[in-house]
C-alpha cells in the first residue's frame, strides 16, 4: 500500500519532469504553428483553469467567475495601453504601468466578487459566480466608453515579445508564467492559509468553531485566484492583441469550466491537460467533416461523457490507471453529496 503510493508518486514526478522538458524544447519538436498558436493558447487557458481548479480543489468552491476576472484584466489593459484608433478609453499608457494597474483593477473586482459570494456554498456559489461572468460580459458589451460590442483591438504587446521579434518568445514567457503559477499555487496550498482553506472545504462548521473566519478565508482565496486569472487575461491579450465581449461570454465561461472538468477538478495539473485537449480539439475537430461547424456539439458531448464516466476528468482516469484503484479525495465531486445544503455558519 505504502509502496504503491511511493511508486505512484515516482510515476507522477517522472511524467511531470518529462512533460516540462518537452515543453522547454517544444520549438525544436513541434512546428511553429503548434508552438506559437496551440501550445501558447494551451498554457494561458491552463492558467485560468488552474485558478478555477485551485478554488475547487483546495477551497471546495467551483467558480464560474474566473473568466469575468480574466476579461476585466484584459479589457483594463486594452483601455489603458491603446492609443487612438480603437474603442475604449485609449489612455495610451506605457506597458509596464498598464499591466500593473490592469491586474490591480481585476484583483479589486475579484475582492468585491469574493466578498459577496463568500457566504454562499456549493451550488449557490456556482450560480452566483456564473452571474458575475454573464454580467461582466453584458457590461463590456453595452458600455461603449470602455469597449462596446466590437471590443478593443490593436492592443500593444511589449516589442521584444512580439512574433515579429521572435516567434517563440511569447511561448517561453507564457511557459515560465505557467510554471510559476503552478509552483505558487502548490506552495500556497501548503501554507497555513492553504491548510485552513482545505479545513474549511472539509468542515466549515468545525473550522468556524475553532475560531477561523470562514468568509474571510474564502474571500481571500477568491481574490488570490482572481490574481491568477488576471495574469491569464494579460497573457491572452498579448497573444490575441484584441479582446471583445464575445471572448468572455457565456460560452467562454463554459469553455474554461469544460477545460477544468476534462482535466479534473481536484488536481492543478488537470488544468493544462484539459487545456491541451480543448485546444487540439478546437483546432483539428472542425477539419473532420462530421464535426464541421458543430464544434460546440462535440465539446458538449465530450464534456457530457467525461462527467458521466469519470467525474474526476482525465486526471481521474490517470489516477485509476497508475494506482489501479480509485483515489478518494475530499474534492472528489462524485462523493460530494448534499453540498447544496448550505452549511449554517456563524
Amino acid at each position: 500500500m505504502k509502496a504503491a503510493q511511493g511508486s505512484k508518486l515516482t510515476i507522477d514526478r517522472a511524467t511531470g519532469a518529462v512533460l516540462v522538458v518537452v515543453a522547454l524544447f517544444a520549438p525544436l519538436i513541434f512546428t511553429e504553428y503548434w508552438v506559437a498558436t496551440l501550445l501558447t493558447q494551451m498554457l494561458f487557458l491552463g492558467i485560468v483553469a488552474a485558478s478555477l481548479i485551485f478554488l475547487s480543489a483546495y477551497g471546495g468552491m467551483v467558480s464560474l467567475g474566473q473568466v469575468a476576472i480574466y476579461g476585466i484584466a484584459g479589457f483594463a489593459l486594452g483601455n489603458l495601453t491603446t492609443n487612438g484608433n480603437t474603442k475604449g478609453l485609449n489612455l495610451g499608457w506605457a506597458e509596464a504601468p498598464g499591466i500593473v494597474v490592469a491586474i490591480v483593477i481585476a484583483v479589486a473586482v475579484a475582492f468585491l466578487f469574493g466578498a459577496l459570494a463568500s457566504r454562499s456554498y456549493g451550488i449557490y456559489f456556482l450560480m452566483i459566480t456564473l452571474v458575475y461572468s454573464v454580467i461582466a460580459n453584458l457590461v463590456f458589451g453595452q458600455v461603449t466608453s470602455i469597449s462596446g460590442f466590437g471590443g478593443i483591438s490593436g492592443i500593444p504587446i511589449p516589442s521584444w515579445l512580439s512574433r515579429t521579434a521572435h516567434p517563440d518568445r511569447l511561448y517561453f514567457v507564457t511557459l515560465a508564467v505557467a510554471l510559476l503559477v503552478y509552483a505558487c499555487l502548490r506552495y500556497v496550498a501548503r501554507t497555513p492559509f492553504g491548510l485552513t482553506l482545505q479545513g474549511i472545504r472539509d468542515d466549515p462548521v468545525r473550522m468556524s468553531s475553532l475560531g477561523y473566519n470562514i468568509a474571510l478565508h474564502r474571500m481571500l482565496a477568491f481574490t488570490f485566484a482572481g490574481l491568477i486569472a488576471a495574469i491569464g487575461g494579460i497573457l491572452f491579450v498579448w497573444w490575441n492583441a484584441q479582446i471583445a465581449p464575445s471572448t468572455i461570454g457565456l460560452s467562454a465561461t463554459i469553455d474554461v469550466l469544460v477545460i477544468a472538468v476534462i482535466g479534473g477538478l481536484y488536481r492543478l495539473e488537470g488544468a493544462w491537460l484539459g487545456a491541451l485537449v480543448f485546444v487540439v480539439l478546437n483546432n483539428y475537430a472542425p477539419r473532420v467533416s462530421v464535426v464541421g461547424d458543430r464544434f460546440h456539439t462535440l465539446i458538449g458531448v465530450v464534456f457530457l461523457v467525461i462527467v458521466l464516466i469519470s467525474p474526476n476528468g482525465l486526471i481521474g482516469l490517470w489516477e485509476r490507471a497508475t494506482v489501479g484503484r480509485r483515489r478518494v479525495t475530499p474534492g472528489d465531486i462524485a462523493q460530494e453529496r448534499g453540498s447544496a445544503e448550505p452549511t449554517p455558519v456563524g
Binding site: I123, M127, L130, Q142, L308, P311, G338, S339, A340
Partner: protein, 348 residues
C-alpha cells in the same frame, strides 16, 4: 472586533443609501433624463412601472420553473435558458408552418389568428416539458444528490442544445408574431396612457401561472407532497410516497414553464443565439434574489429585477443609459450582502 462592528455599521448605512438614493432620484430629481422626475412626469413614470411589472411577469414564469425543480430536487437546471430558447423556436416553427411564409418582413400580426398563436404556445410548452422529462430520466435520475455533477450534466446538455439550435435555426434574430387579437393599444384611463395589450397579456399569463402554481402547491394532494418533499425528501420517501414520480412531475412542469416562457418571450422580444444565456441569467438572478426553491421568492425576485432593469434604463441620465446593466449587479449585491440565501431562502 469593534473595528469589524463599526465596519458593519458603515456597511449598513451604505446599503440603505444604495436603496434610498435611486428611489429619491426617480421620484424627485431625475435630472438629465428623458422623462424627468416622477413628480413632474407621472405618465412616463407609470408607463415605466407597467413595463417593469409586465417584464417581471415573464421573468416569473421562467424562473418559477427553475425554482420548482431546485426546490424539490436540488437540481440546478443550467439548461433552463436553452430550453427557453427551444420552446421559442418550436412555437416559431409551428406558427410559420400554419400561417405560411408571410411577407419580406416575416409574418405580420394581421395574418395570425389567436389559435395560430395559442396552439404553438401550448405545443411548445408540452414538447419542452417532454424534452426536460427525458433529460431527467436519462441523465439525472441515477445520480441524485450529486448536485455539482448534475449541474455539470445540464451545462453539457445546454451546450449541445444551443449549438444544435444554431445549426437548425441560424444566427438571425426571429420573432413569433402576436395574433391580431392582441395587436392593439388599450386606454388605461389614467394620465391618458395608451398601453400595448400584448404586455398586459404577458402580465395576465404571469398572474395565471402564479395563481395556478399556488393553487397546485397549496390546495392539492400532489402539491402537498411536493411541499413536503422540499422540506424533507427522505422522510416523504420513507412514508411510502413514490418520490421519483413527483421528481419526474416537477421536472416536467418546470421545463414546461421554460418552454411556455420561450414561446411568450419569443413573441415579446426575439429569438437568437445568446438569448438562452440572457434567460439563464434572468432565472438565476430571480432565484438568487428571491431564495432558491421559494415560489413567493421567485415572484418578489422577478418584480425587483423587472423594476430595476426598466427603471435603470429609463431614469439614468441620457448619456449614461448603457450603464443600466450595472444596476442588475447592484441589486444582486445588495440582496446577497444582507441575505446570502436570498430574501425567502432558508437553510435546507
Amino acid at each position: 472586533m469593534s473595528a469589524y462592528g463599526s465596519l458593519r455599521r458603515v456597511g449598513r448605512w451604505l446599503l440603505l443609501a444604495l436603496v434610498a438614493f435611486p428611489i429619491v432620484w426617480v421620484l424627485f430629481i431625475a435630472s438629465g433624463t428623458t422623462f424627468g422626475s416622477a413628480v413632474s412626469d407621472p405618465k412616463d413614470f407609470f408607463i415605466t412601472l407597467l413595463n417593469g411589472v409586465t417584464a417581471a411577469a415573464l421573468y416569473f414564469v421562467v424562473a418559477s420553473g427553475f425554482t420548482l425543480i431546485f426546490g424539490l430536487m436540488r437540481v440546478v437546471n443550467m439548461a433552463h435558458g436553452a430550453l427557453f430558447l427551444l420552446g421559442g423556436y418550436i412555437a416559431l416553427h409551428i406558427q410559420r408552418n400554419s400561417v405560411g411564409s408571410g411577407g419580406a418582413l416575416g409574418i405580420s400580426s394581421a395574418q395570425v389568428s389567436f389559435m395560430q398563436w395559442f396552439l404553438p404556445l401550448v405545443a411548445a410548452t408540452f414538447i419542452v416539458a417532454g424534452v426536460g422529462l427525458v433529460m431527467q430520466q436519462l441523465f439525472l435520475r441515477w445520480n441524485q444528490g450529486q448536485d455539482l455533477r448534475q449541474a455539470l450534466i445540464t451545462i453539457a446538455i445546454s451546450i449541445i442544445l444551443a449549438d444544435q439550435m444554431l445549426a437548425h435555426y441560424g444566427g438571425v434574430a426571429e420573432d413569433i408574431s402576436w395574433p391580431r387579437t392582441f395587436d392593439k393599444f388599450v386606454n388605461l384611463h389614467a394620465y391618458g396612457i395608451q398601453y400595448t395589450l400584448t404586455r398586459l397579456v404577458i402580465l395576465g399569463i404571469g398572474l395565471l401561472i402564479g395563481g395556478a402554481l399556488w393553487l397546485w402547491l397549496k390546495r392539492t394532494r400532489t402539491g402537498m407532497v411536493i411541499r413536503a418533499g422540499v422540506d424533507d425528501r427522505d422522510m416523504v420517501s420513507a412514508m411510502g410516497v413514490n418520490i421519483q414520480l413527483f421528481f419526474a412531475l416537477a421536472f416536467f412542469v418546470g421545463c414546461g414553464l421554460a418552454g411556455l416562457g420561450g414561446a411568450v418571450g419569443g413573441s415579446f422580444a426575439s429569438l437568437a443565439p445568446g438569448v438562452d444565456a440572457n434567460w439563464l441569467l434572468n432565472s438565476l438572478i430571480v432565484v438568487i434574489i428571491g431564495g432558491m426553491g421559494s415560489l413567493g421568492g421567485a415572484a418578489i425576485g422577478a418584480l425587483l429585477l423587472g423594476l430595476t432593469t426598466n427603471f435603470a434604463a429609463a431614469y439614468l441620465p441620457e448619456n449614461y443609459t448603457y450603464y443600466s446593466i450595472i444596476f442588475t449587479f447592484v441589486l444582486l449585491a445588495i440582496v446577497l450582502a444582507v441575505r446570502p440565501l436570498g430574501l425567502y431562502g432558508r437553510p435546507a
